[in-house]
Chain length 105, copies 2
Amino acid sequence: MTDVSGHPVTGLDEVVHQRVRLGILAITHEAKRVEFGYLRTQLDLTAGNLSKHLSVLEAAGLIDIEKGYEGKRGRTWITLTADGDAALAAEISRLKMLIARVETA
Amino acid sequence: MTDVSGHPVTGLDEVVHQRVRLGILAITHEAKRVEFGYLRTQLDLTAGNLSKHLSVLEAAGLIDIEKGYEGKRGRTWITLTADGDAALAAEISRLKMLIARVETA
């Protein structure tokens, strides 16, 4: 049996790795600043489900949430914090290790 | 704003993507056939937590679970099914798309 001590998955952070939250971080990274409704459409989520995941990321200090107006319409904007950028980079780095392991097996 | 229609995360399957289950599939793929206690140690899980995730994967048809003996000691062996191999390959393929998107943003 191969020695798989320190398997890359043990280093994955569930706050970041969870599918919806990884999507929020990746899309916000791509777009720099995204509106709530845009994320909801892109990720095909209910408003409640998206809000729940945004709260987890905000509590972890990975995103900033800013409420404002565009004309008369209330808008919620999301940006990554420096910690959020670093957390996404760490996730990507661990995923690459995982992929390399799987592909050489 | 960048067009991110069909973002790779929307194609991720939570049965496979979840951190512990991805670990089970990756380690089993590497080792071909793994013993329960080995997975438990590698993934640093309680027996109950590992059992719960194995049940999800077995119900989805991604792994086979075989109970037997090694000498007098009861052992549980895990192997990937063909569907499990395909599901891991699909996950890896979507993760690569995600990584490419994040790195070119």
